[in-house]
Structure formats: C-alpha cells, structure tokens
C-alpha cells in the first residue's frame, strides 16, 4: 500500500459480502454511518444458504468472493454473514492481507455492555455449531451465562417473506428454551434476522433486549477507517451490487433488506 497516496486509498470502495441478501442489512447501516463511502456488495445467491453447509465448503466459497472483491480494489472487506464470520474468519485473515471487519465481535461487545448476566444467541446451524459466540463472550465476560439455539428455518421464512402465524409458531418453538432460561439479552446472530426483529421481540418478551449486528458493525467499520485515515469525506459515493444468481424475486427481496431500489448485476463464480 506504501506506493499509493492516501487520497487514492480513501476513495476506494468498501467490500461487503454475504451468502445472499442478508448482508444488505449491514450495507444499509454502513450507508447511514458513512454516507460518502462507495460500496461493492457481493451476494452469493446461486449457492445460498451457507448455514447448513460444511466449514470446508463455506471457506472455499468465501475465498472466491474475497478474491473477487480484492480485484474490485476494495480498501476493507466486511464479512456481513455470521455463518462465514464464524466458520471462515481466521482462514480468510490468514490467507489475504486486506483488512477485514466482521459482524461477530462488535455485536458481542454490544451484548456484553447491556446484559445483566444471561445472553441468548440464535443463528444458523453452522454459526451456532462453530461455537464462536460462546467462546468470544466467555473470553470477554467469563461470568456471563450463554445459551445458544440454532434456528435454521428462519432464513428460508424471511427469504420467502412468509410473515404470518406460521412464523410465530416456529419462533415459539425456537425461543421457548431461551425464554424459559430467563435470558435478559438476545443476540441475533444472522444478518437476516433484523427483518423480523419486532416479531422476535414480541415473542421473547419485553424484558429481553434484542441486539442485531448491523448498527454495531457499521460503527466498527467507521472506527477502523478513522484509525487508518481511510474515511472518504468528500466523494460522491457509487455503489455496485453483484449477485451470483438473479432470480425473479431478488429486486423485491433486496428492497426488504436495504429499503431502497437497487440494480443487481450478475457475476458468476466458481
């Protein structure tokens, strides 16, 4: 990087990726927090979901995406997918010299700040199975009790926009154990879940604080860019949204997550 001028680096885009559309909740928060930054997003919609796949496959897919984003000249990469962050973060950091920010640490730090001692964590099977939330919470706050629960059907419900009493029944199934254990804080360990945050809050009950990743991850991105004098203060941002498949529903679904219309571009991987 030494040969590049500082302004050359600051004007580079931020890369953000996810297995599909969930990471767009993080894009939304980054746009709000850092309105002058350009963003290159990649959603691996041809191979979504990652949440029930093996660690080896998740790493292989993530590496392909990181290489694509590096080719796009990004100054920093946000792993906006809890499944990738929990199964491939160290692998990516060991193999690529670009700066990474992921959704896990900022969210865990936020949950520890608010908890009175008992945190529940929900996420995909691969995320929960990795044990990474449990380990990080125990490392930063050894006295906090952690109760984890894989909730693998929530992503399909959200992607199908199947928002009715059946989703409530499913949430009752999934959250009963956490409610009975009297958690005081619930960490949403998946970037899809903010779309049903209010429904989750209603079912888990008023006394539980529900925390999602997007806001805290965006704050962390800002802090790292500031720390390295890489914030883009002046430029007019331009965003690119790549997807490995563009099914008919994609524009509607992307709007659910991002709140604005986007023009998706097809980029075939693998």
């Amino acid at each position: 990087m030494g040969s590049r001028s500082s302004s050359e680096i600051t004007s580079k885009p931020i890369g953000i990726f996810d297995s599909g559309v969930g990471g767009l909740t993080v894009v939304r928060a980054v746009m709000r927090e850092l309105p002058n930054e350009s963003i290159v997003y990649f959603g691996d919609t041809a191979r979504v979901p990652y949440g029930n796949k093996s660690t080896a496959t998740i790493r292989r897919f993530a590496a392909e995406i990181v290489e694509l984003l590096i080719e796009e000249g990004v100054k920093l990469i946000v792993i906006a997918c809890n499944t990738v962050a929990s199964n491939a973060r160290e692998y990516l950091m060991d193999n690529y010299s670009v700066k990474f920010v992921d959704v896990i640490a900022p969210t865990v730090e936020a949950a520890i700040r608010v908890t009175k001692g008992k945190i529940g964590v929900i996420g995909t099977k691969a995320t929960i199975g990795s044990g990474c939330y449990m380990r990080l919470i125990k490392k930063l706050a050894p006295n906090v009790e952690v109760i984890q629960k894989p909730t693998p059907l929530l992503v399909p419900f959200i992607e199908e926009r199947h928002y009715n009493h059946t989703l409530d029944t499913l949430l009752e199934d999934y959250l009963r154990e956490l409610r009975d254990a009297k958690i005081d804080t619930l960490l949403l360990g998946c970037t899809h879940y903010p779309l049903i945050k209010e429904r989750i809050e209603r079912i888990i009950g008023d006394e539980v604080v529900v925390i999602d990743s997007s806001h805290y991850t965006a704050k962390k991105v800002k802090a790292i860019l500031q720390q390295h004098s890489m914030v883009n203060e002046t430029a007019k941002p331009s965003h690119k949204f790549y997807f490995s498949d563009i099914p008919v529903d994609l524009p509607k679904l992307a709007h659910d997550f991002l709140g604005i219309e986007i023009e998706p571009y097809l980029k075939v991987l693998g």
Copy 2:
C-alpha cells in the same frame, strides 16, 4: 454406441441426480424395481436448494452434473429433481446425447389415470413457475382442471427434519386453497415430499389421492432399459453416492430418504 457390445452397455451404471438428497427417494424406488442395476448418484449439496434460483443458473448447474455422470460412463440419466426437470430438461436433451428419464411425465401420466377431473400440483417456486405440469396435463388430458401451488418452505422443513405441529400449520397454509377447490388428486412435484406424504394425506383429507414421483419414475426407467435391451439381469450391483458438500447431518438425512446407510463421497463441482 454402435461400437460397444450389448453386454458392455448393460453393465454400465444408471446415473441419478438431484440438487441435494431428495433424489434418493427415486434411487430407493429404482433399487427396488431394478435390483441388479448399479447406480451413480450425484447430489449438489453445496448449492442446494435450486427451487428458488433462476432458470439460467439451474441449467448451468445441471449441465455440470450431467457432464460428470457422462464421465462416469452411465447408460442413462435420471433427472430426479423436479426443479431441474421442469427448468432444464429440454436444454439437457438438446445438448447431450445420453438418454434421459425425468420425474415429470411418469407422474403426470399416473395422476391422469386416477383423477376424476381436478388435479392439484405442489412444488418449489421454480417448478411451479415453469408451468410444465400445467402444460403437460393440459396436453394429455385437456378436460382436467389443474390447480398449482408453490410450497417453497417444505424442502427446508424436510431437510431440517422439523416434523412437528409447525409443519402442520405450514401445510394448512399451503393446502387450504387446494382443499377448498376440491381437488381429487394431489401430485407431489418434488422428490423431497414423499417423506411427509402421510402428513400431507392427513391434512388434504381422505378423499384426495396423493401421488409421488419415485415409483412411477422407476417403472419408466425399467421400461426404457427393457425397450433398448439394456437391463442388467445378472451382475452384482455396486453403487456410488457423490455429493458436492458433506455437512455433518448428511448421513442421517440420506438415511431418511434412502432407508439404508450409505458412504457419501465428496466431489467438488464448478
């Protein structure tokens, strides 16, 4: 094929493929119908599900699998995935000279034989969206009324083995319209659905005949092999099960579909 002896061809395996594990219901029926045939199965578990992906992506994935099966020397390929059959069948037949059997025509013929005039069809979004069941039924039996309903969340429920009251609630959502329309025959347009056939029968009601693909597809495979003198009458069969990802749950899930233990082999595609 002219240069090969007949016995050389008969001893070749049958190729069977699916986006994941659903096609194993067809494997099970083929094993029962043709106990001397060797089978090479490929399940694209790294990229499953296909049901909400675009036709272009489904075709690309299917072509990669067909090429792999042709390299394995198969004498016939069974498209044991309704999503692929409905979106890529003609494309595959135009591009590869191997014989194909798929799950759609045999099942439609069976449904037409039993119906009194009103057939319901359920399947993934891509299957129903292709309109192929509607077209084929209307072509073979113009007076039969067809009511289609995409049921995209059934595959995730079956893959998660989430067999409880929430699945019943979901089935109530999905089947209400078909029950109200008083269908007399329900065609299960997805190779996953046989695993919840009894639950579907209970919810749709006794007066509806529920038809799944596996048995009729296996019969069709047998008829085609007989027609071309390609049945393997004597050999001891040997089977191979390839998957593009082997997540922890795979052996258990494969057992659900096939009824026997298998040793899955990893074969990375793309």
